[in-house]
């Protein structure tokens, strides 16, 4: 009996010591993580704010004048993101800086928000810290922060939605929390309507996991969706939907490089895009496996279930309708993947979870190491090309990357749109000055005059190819 007591006492002491040890080792780990976070935040903030695409230019216009028909911004309008940008504009007063500030803050909010989601789901701070670090290591985080686009905002409010879901479906929910969750999800949609499938799948997951909360979730969603659609309708009328049809058809069949585009317009697919990203297959496969593992669990926490359903849904959507030239479309998969890996509990195989998370982290660091340009002074490829072309005032350029930006910032140049290749080729052939093709596809056997390297994963290198003499086969 005494021996038993002493064994119990020893076990209790060991457990307390272990808990104390865990507590004492967590604080330094947290401090180190926060230091790393601060360093990355400073590094990102020290980059120049510069337009990297036409989409960023359109969003910039939207901060001054919102009109989807006038490409301020392009369809679907990203009204939530524009609202965030205008909020930043009240602080910075310069639209470009406001846009840069918005995307930077959104990107920097993602790791803590991912940590919060996992903490809410598991109640385990180590897992929360793991999610924080995996999101911080996401190779597309610099792209989200610096490309001046809306991708990060949609993910941020999706994570807000997940963080507002209760830990277990049996919990007494009340009305306010699921209502706010629904509102957050709808605001994610307002920021990033092109991620509608991702968000709809997340909502579906939440509704399946929390059938009792459907009224509050939908009420919250409609509380944001109805006014947003009403504003769009007031500003654009039914023409908004017509522009939407034109844009959707154009994206699917003409310029979006999707499986539905004519073979002449297609030059890459998602398989090739993921394979060409260092560590890409691991970064995509592990989140998918984690999502399937969560979906198989009968009583997965609602937030994990919603994230796990959203992830494959988004995969299918981008495979069909998004441009594989834009790796940023993978960002929701990578970030939800990090969260799911940190959340995942495999029965009787704790070490398997740790191995999967480690493998994911290694792949992320590997990808970063091979794609990241650490020099924060470097400009995006389009801005580099602008500087180069500015020194050649007679140049004629054909491109399908940044036509509107080049025309706006190089008003003295003749810029042709390669989405209309015959027109552009004829324009180059008739050029009096030097004729160039600016492209993200490395020209084979071409006369490459300059290369403008991307700074991180998701930012494509651009090549400037000189078309020597006027000829019809350009």
């Amino acid at each position: 009996m005494t021996q038993n007591r002493s064994i119990q006492g020893a076990t209790a002491t060991t457990a307390a010591a272990t808990a104390g040890g865990a507590r004492s080792s967590f604080t330094p780990a947290l401090l180190a993580s926060l230091l790393l976070y601060a360093a990355i935040a400073l590094w990102l903030a020290s980059h120049p704010v510069s337009l990297s695409s036409d989409d960023a230019l359109f969003l910039l216009h939207a901060l001054k004048r919102f009109s989807v028909l006038d490409f301020s911004p392009q369809f679907p309008g990203y009204p939530g993101f524009v609202a965030l940008g205008r909020l930043a504009l009240s602080i910075s007063h310069d639209p470009l800086d406001a846009l840069g500030l918005t995307t930077l803050l959104v990107a920097l909010a993602l790791p803590p928000m991912a940590g919060l989601v996992v903490w809410r789901v598991t109640g385990d701070r180590w897992r929360a810290l793991l999610a924080f670090l995996l999101t911080l290591a996401c190779p597309l985080l610099p792209d989200i922060a610096l490309s001046l686009l809306s991708d990060g905002s949609g993910i941020l409010f999706l994570l807000t939605f997940l963080s507002l879901l209760p830990r277990a479906s049996q919990e007494n929910l009340g009305f306010l929390q699921p209502f706010l969750a629904g509102a957050a999800l709808a605001f994610a949609g307002a920021c990033r309507p092109s991620d509608a499938v991702l968000l709809a799948c997340a909502l579906l997951g939440a509704l399946i996991a929390l059938p009792r909360a459907w009224k509050a979730l939908l009420a919250g969603g409609l509380a944001v969706t109805i006014p947003t659609l009403a504003v769009l309708f007031a500003l654009e009328g039914t023409l908004y939907w017509q522009e939407g049809l034109r844009f959707f058809a154009g994206n699917a069949m003409l310029w979006g490089n999707t499986p539905f585009a004519g073979t002449s317009a297609r030059h890459r697919n998602w398989l090739g895009a993921v394979a060409s990203l260092p560590g890409g297959p691991v970064l995509i496969a592990l989140p998918l496996i984690a999502a399937l593992a969560v979906l198989r669990r009968r009583r997965a926490p609602p937030a994990a279930f919603a994230a796990a359903l959203a992830l494959p849904g988004h995969m299918v959507w981008i495979l069909a309708f998004q441009n594989p030239d834009h790796l940023r479309h993978l960002a929701p998969i990578l970030i939800l993947g990090g969260i799911l890996l940190a959340t995942m509990k495999l029965p009787g195989a704790k070490s398997l979870t740790a191995i999967a998370a480690s493998l994911y982290a290694i792949a992320a660091f590997w990808c970063m190491a091979l794609t990241l340009d650490p020099n924060p002074e470097h400009l995006p490829p389009l801005a580099q090309a602008l500087s180069f072309l500015r020194a050649e005032p007679q140049a004629v350029v054909a491109t399908n990357n940044g036509v509107f930006t080049l025309r706006t910032l190089l008003p003295r140049h003749h810029i042709y749109d390669m989405h209309y290749p015959a027109d552009a080729r004829l324009g180059l052939a008739m050029a009096k000055g030097p004729a160039y093709r600016l492209t993200t596809t490395r020209p084979e056997n071409g006369n490459i005059v300059a290369a403008f390297p991307g700074r991180f994963a998701g930012e494509e290198t651009m090549w400037l190819e000189r078309k020597r003499s006027p000829r019809p086969d350009l």
Binding site: L69, Y420, A424, G427, A429
Partner: protein
């Protein structure tokens, strides 16, 4: 079942509104998303010209006949002959120049339409957006000074159209004087008699 019926009815009303709104009010569509034969046909025309296939180029011009007929009668007398001469001379530069002329006439047509519909925000706005589409199609071919003036003033014209605001909040009335100034600048830059 009743709910389903309600949803179907709601959808039908919405779809009906869209269809009614898209029916052209005049001889040509005001819709930004509506077909524009000149823009839609240019790739076929320039592909043929680039390849030196002048029979195909003639066929591409034939496809534009209704649009060119309209322009020849109302906006740009002689545009049909300009295309015919360019094809007969097998001269790519002349074909390009004819296309720029036709697109300029289209810009004038839409800008004038916007002027006449300045009280109707949606119509005026779409017509300016259409003008921008035609401008975008020829922006690479225009002399840089002209391009800059047209681009800037089409934007000014769009601002001058005003803004209905969000249910009246933030509404801005159309400014006919500013619109007239922007319109005159666009037409002058494109060498259109005003």
């Amino acid at each position: 079942m009743r709910r389903l019926g309600f949803l179907i009815a709601l959808f039908a009303i919405f779809a009906g509104m869209t269809v009614v709104k898209t029916v052209p009010a005049q001889a040509y569509s005001y819709a930004a998303a509506g077909a524009e034969p000149l823009l839609d046909g240019r790739e076929a025309l320039f592909s043929a010209v680039s390849a030196g296939n002048w029979d195909a180029a003639q066929k591409a011009v034939d496809q534009l006949k209704p649009e060119l007929d309209y322009l020849d009668t109302h906006e740009q007398p002689g545009i049909k002959k300009a295309f015919a001469d360019a094809i007969a001379a097998k001269d790519p530069a002349k074909v390009k120049a004819s296309f720029v002329l036709a697109a300029s006439a289209e810009i004038e047509r839409r800008v004038n339409g916007a002027r006449d519909n300045l009280k109707d925000y949606q119509t005026a706005k779409v017509l300016i957006v259409k003008s921008q589409r035609f401008y975008t199609a020829i922006a690479g071919d225009l002399p840089p000074d002209v391009s800059k003036i047209v681009s800037t003033n089409l934007q000014k014209a769009l601002d001058a159209v005003g803004n209905p605001g969000v249910f009246g909040v933030g509404a801005k009335k159309a400014d006919p004087a500013a619109f007239a100034q922007a319109r005159a600048a666009v037409l002058k830059a494109l060498g259109r008699p005003n």
